[in-house]
Amino acid sequence: MRLERESSVKAGGHSEPLGYVWGLAAVALALGVAGLLEPLAGLENVDLVFVTAVVAIAVRFGLGPSLIAAIGSVLAYNFFFIHPPFSLEVADPKHFAALIFFLVFAVITSNLAARVRVQALAAQEQARSIQALYDFSRRIAAVADRGELASSTAAGMAKLLGRDVLVLLPDEHGTLQVTAASLPGDELDEFELGALRASWTTGDWAAGRNAMRVGPRLFYPLRRDQGGALGLVALSRESMREPLLPGEEPMFGALTDQVASALERLRLGHERDAARLAVESERLRTALLSSLSHDLKTPLATITGAITALRQTPDLYDDESRDELTTMIQDEAERMTRFVTNLLDMTRLEAGGIPLTLDPIDIGEVIATALQRMGSALAEHRVAVELDPDLPLLNLDAVLLEQVLVNLLDNASKYAPPGSTVTISGQRRKGRGIALAVTDEGPGLPAGSLERVFDKFYRARQGDRQRAGTGLGLAICRGFVEALGGSVTAVNRQDRPGAVFTISFPQEVLAASFDHEEPR
């Protein structure tokens, strides 16, 4: 496996040519030390200096350099210390035997040392690859979708196995697709993909096929514990098929297990989400239908009643009651318009990606148009607008913000009694953006429902069915405000009964201030 390849590279690789240089350097050093030592320790101990050098080289650089060191030591020892000095002639057979031992010693030591070193390197490498495997599994445990999982897998396997990797997963129709590649742009050709898809659809892989050669690549299955295949992984190196070495198999097995269980996790999560969504949308559909039937039927009943009265028995009505009937028709039609507007806004929110037109807007102007749109709905309330005189322009979408204010005012008009005051205020908050508030003098919100009032179809009290409305207005407020980068909260007034809805926008929405004088 990779770790063996790496350690063998190290065992041989280090020795050339640096090891040999070190081998000779060690001999030179030993010679110097021996020269200094001989007068003190005597000739019989000088050879130990050379043995030390040979062992050191054997441990650090392996067999080759240690042999060089051994031979060098024998020559140096012979030349400088063995009688006759300064010749390579060996007079005493005793010394000749010593030379042989020297060589044998070098070979054995360097072999032992090399083995120890290989083991140490292997342990190091194993620790490294366990760490790498751990990193890999942590990375793929964090991914949120299959595409991301596939690319993490391709990148991680390529690094750990030293191959080029393709990851193939079936798409929503069950057709195998190349989902990720470790080399950018690496692809399968039509024939290769065709062959694989054929093998995939016949169920070969699910039935237990373990590998397949296609073109320059070898394909292996991503297998889950219960059997079956979730996808394929292709390995190649420089466009050559290179089978997994026996040593690589455990690592590869560990990797594919990790990926398969991550795939399984994503699939189960997806199913859970879908189930939750189905329940939620069923609940919403029921709520919507009951809201529709109530909120459309009531105004329709009023309109139909008033119209038939005017048409079928016109003589019964004087001008005043005729005027009242036609006013009712208009009011109810306007109410239905607001209702349908809310439904459309909700649909837009749920579809996601509301297109925003962000322009510097004058908040006073938006409040004015919102009040104008409220028309008769707020006619019986007093309305106060309290804006800081130095409010800057805000980078917001005027249409959305206007709708938010209309919905909050609509809410206030329904819950606050006629004759009470609805206040719209706007304040700059030092360095923390801007706050807009709609404050009413109604009964306030029931404790514990301050957050829930923004839920779809939520109504603050049981009797709220009587009040015209969709239960969507505040949910739309929150959706729009959040789309604009702000937040909206509801609290009860401290000074008296009543509700306060506060919209906050961060500092970033304040339009950059500019010179008040004539531009250019």
Partner: protein, 228 residues
């Protein structure tokens, strides 16, 4: 209104809305022509030469914007009033940029629609010279003497304020997009911030309640309109 009923072309594919417009506009004294498709509208424009076109943007055979483009490409200057829906501010701006004269948002009040039609007809008749003095009750603007009075009091305006007000007066009753006003007053590269600030200042001077303006009306997301 002249003795001869002016022809109005209604381009709308919803039969019920066509019926409503036919009935109510006839009652006000117009002769109502009808088209249910863009193609029929183009034919009627060439054949009947209506004085005003009411145009729905969602037609079965072509985009209402395309109708405007083709009509203007032919050099026809007939006023076009778009029947648009709330939430389609981009469509409104595009229609105005392509040469539509105004719009009403569905559902619209009949009074509002008739006022738009009258404004469009008036501007068509006055294309070569607006009357020198405009008044909508509270506000009186004398264009030749550069005199602005609000409820009898003369008001002094800065140059830019005057430029904006003059533009609104010349197009009184008609919507002007932000871009149209900025291009006329500052040139093509102006920032909409300036416009907001100057409109705010202008309202302080000419509106009785600047936070509930009655003369310079806001068309949210589109532009401004001077109440005629």
């Amino acid at each position: 209104m002249s003795a001869v009923a002016l022809p109005i072309l209604v381009v709308e594919d919803e039969p019920s809305l066509r019926r409503l417009l036919r009935t109510s506009l006839s009652a006000v004294g117009y002769r109502v022509l009808e088209a249910g498709t863009g193609r029929a509208a183009m034919e009627s424009l060439a054949r009947d030469a209506p004085d005003v076109v009411l145009l729905d943007l969602g037609l079965p055979d072509m985009d209402g914007l395309e109708v405007i483009r083709r009509v203007r490409a032919r050099g026809t200057r007939t006023p076009i009033i778009v029947l648009s829906s709330r939430g389609d501010e981009r469509g409104k701006i595009q229609a105005l940029d392509l040469g539509a004269d105004d719009y009403v948002t569905k559902p619209f009040g009949m009074g509002e629609l008739v006022a738009r039609i009258r404004t469009a007809l008036r501007h068509r008749l006055q294309q070569d010279g607006a009357p020198a003095v405009f008044s909508n009750g509270d506000l009186t603007v004398d264009l030749t003497r550069r005199l602005v009075t609000v409820r009898g009091q003369e008001v002094k305006l800065s140059n830019k304020e005057w430029d904006i007000l003059k533009l609104l007066v010349v197009h009184a009753g008609k919507v002007l997009t932000h871009r149209m006003i900025m291009e006329q007053v500052w040139g093509p590269t102006a920032d909409v911030q300036y416009l907001r600030i100057y409109v705010r200042q202008l309202r302080q001077k000419i509106e009785e309640h600047p936070d509930r303006p009655q003369s310079i009306l806001t068309e949210t997301g589109v532009g401004y309109r001077l109440r005629a």
